[in-house]
């Protein structure tokens, strides 16, 4: 089958579902609830419940990882990776992807209605952590009756969730694939997130988070997203995509979006505010910054005894989550005696590469998952 053919035959129409549960004990000690997670599944769960893979999404992602929604055109955010014959082969595996706790794509978050007040939580929403997000996902996995996931896979913040799974539920997964991620954010990563948060909070419409009945802080959120997009690309990918090309705006003002890159960032920013909640952005980026998979210990000590197999992937031009951070994960796995494979893919896309380098990632994921699924049997299969 040609690659084109595989790509064109996706999953078709998919539906988002909802799972509600009474409460979750947060890391802070607070009991929070009720809460809902929306999720999508692709493929079918086998009788032994041994073929389930959880996919964890990044900052702006959602439960809609693949296929298309009825009446819509845009496929899910990892569509080229999920479907029959793809990296996450739905003929073989059962794929689950849920919107994170604190998100704004259907799962309970700051924009959800607080049952106590009948109004959106806004800043009454508790400060959540990556571990809280994962603990909520665990409830969903329990709901399916799945005792052991075949794998947990995700990039960027999704990778942080993968590490949290690996540390908190080592016996509930056969393998883990953290992609373009880190044990903990560096000051540089925190700094970029902080500028994004400041942009939102500096918007007059933010009003300490209570904007749901009025105008949303769209200008601030758009700026936050623009900063994000700069960090997701590489110098080279920007140069290739935009160069110094100028747009014909025809506007007589100074400081219009003259350059292609300016127009692109404005377009991305303006689009983002239509689909994302500013308070969610604050809560989620804070959870990312606060996350430390090692819990303040040496990461290899936390991992020691883990039976799960690990595949770590990074990208050469990713300067937001640089390769050395992935190598730290690998190093800890080495020291802890965890079976690990590491590949740094030669890509020019920057951090965005984890969404775009389909062929290379597919090759790695496909063979790795196959190995784990067939009980580590070495097949000698050279086919891609």
């Amino acid at each position: 089958m040609t690659k084109e053919k595989i790509r064109n035959n996706g999953l078709g129409i998919v539906k988002t579902q909802n799972f509600t549960f009474e409460s979750l004990k947060l890391e802070s000690g607070e009991k929070f609830g009720p809460l809902s997670l929306v999720y999508e599944t692709y493929g079918s769960l086998n009788k032994e419940k041994s073929n389930a893979i959880l996919i964890t999404h990044a900052l702006s992602g959602d439960a809609h990882a693949a296929g298309v929604h009825e009446g819509k055109e845009n496929p899910g955010w990892w569509n080229e990776f999920i479907g029959p014959g793809r990296a996450f082969d739905t003929d073989r595996y059962f794929i689950i992807c849920s919107n994170i706790l604190g998100g704004c794509k259907g799962s309970t978050g700051p924009a959800s209605i607080n049952p106590k007040t009948g109004k959106p939580y806004a800043l009454d929403f508790p400060l959540i952590t990556i571990n809280d997000i994962v603990n909520a996902q665990k409830k969903l996995i329990d709901h399916f009756g799945i005792e052991k996931l075949l794998s947990v896979v995700g990039g960027s913040m999704g990778g942080q969730q993968v590490l949290s799974w690996l540390v908190n539920y080592p016996d509930n997964l056969c393998s883990a694939v953290p992609i373009a991620t880190t044990i903990r954010h560096s000051p540089q990563q925190i700094a970029f997130n902080e500028v994004g948060r400041q942009a939102i909070m500096a918007d007059g419409h933010w009003k300490a988070g209570n904007y749901y009945e009025g105008v949303a802080p769209t200008k601030g959120l758009a700026v936050a997203r623009m900063i994000g997009h700069i960090t997701y690309m590489s110098d080279k990918s920007m140069a290739e995509k935009f160069g110094r090309a100028k747009k014909e705006t025809g506007e007589p003002f100074k400081f219009t979006a003259d350059f292609e890159v300016e127009g692109y960032l404005r377009y991305r920013g303006d689009n983002f505010v239509k689909r994302f909640d500013a308070n969610s952005y604050l809560y989620i980026t804070k959870a990312m910054d606060n996350f430390d998979a090692s819990g303040g210990k040496r990461f290899e000590e936390v991992l020691r005894g883990t039976k799960a197999k690990v595949l770590v992937i990074s990208f050469k031009s990713d300067w937001l989550y640089p390769g050395y951070q992935s190598k730290e994960i690998v190093k800890a796995c080495k020291l802890a005696g965890v079976e690990t494979t590491y590949c740094e893919i030669d890509s020019t896309y920057g951090h965005d590469a984890f969404l775009l380098e389909v062929d290379e990632e597919t090759h790695l994921l496909k063979h790795f998952l196959k190995k784990v699924f067939y009980a580590y049997e070495v097949t000698g299969d050279y086919g891609a």
Binding site: K327, K334, T341, C343, L364, H367, T379
Partner: protein, 199 residues
């Protein structure tokens, strides 16, 4: 007696014969993973590879191998003492920048080390040097001087001498040509030297 099977390289066959079943093996510069694959299939070994070339990594992963993408020079530091039963440096020794450091590290993390390298003093090389006055290009050293990945050029005698100076035990040495063992005057007639060493 080691005989070459049709589809298996002779040096792999030799290394296979030097490794005990079920051993824990690290292959530094594992290439496409052919040797590691054989070690799993035929000796039931627990294996780990380190390889710098990205395309080779993909081939290793397709074989179901655990492999780290990185250079050999910096790949050993994290492993604890005697973590592996064997550390293999097959056809990679001559391409490593800091050979001495890597060998010392390999002898630290491995109970035993297996080294395989092309013999620079093979008679064909000597003839080319002597009669043509040019850097040798042979079956075991197939590169022109301007494109060779090899950084070091050593002979079987050089390596034996190195082990003596560094007080490294040579437990076994097997010297081979294209298709068979060369027990007689190996430094002259063998293309490849394979040593099992320990400290």
């Amino acid at each position: 007696m080691i005989t070459a099977r049709k589809d298996i390289q002779l040096d792999h066959e030799v290394i296979l014969s030097l490794i005990q079943p079920q051993a824990k093996v690290l292959d530094l510069g594992c290439g496409n993973g052919d040797l590691l694959y054989l070690l799993i299939k035929e000796k039931n070994c627990h294996v780990q590879g380190i390889e710098i070339d990205e395309q080779a990594i993909y081939k290793c992963v397709a074989k179901g191998l655990n492999v780290f993408h990185g250079d050999v020079d910096s790949g050993l530091a994290e492993f604890s003492d005697k973590y592996f039963d064997y550390v293999v440096l097959n056809q990679s020794l001559q391409q490593i920048l800091h050979v001495d450091k890597v060998l010392i590290d390999a002898l630290r993390v491995g109970k035993k080390v297996i080294v395989g390298f092309p013999n620079f003093a093979h008679y064909k090389s000597r003839l080319q040097m002597f009669f043509k006055g040019r850097s040798p290009v042979t079956g075991a050293l197939p590169y022109q001087w301007y494109e060779t990945p090899n950084l070091h050029f050593l002979s079987i005698s050089d390596f034996k001498n190195y082990c003596r100076i560094k007080k490294i035990n040579i437990e076994r040495s097997v010297c081979i040509g294209q298709s068979r063992r060369i027990p007689f005057l190996p430094n002259l007639f063998a293309q490849t030297g394979i040593f099992l060493i320990s400290k």
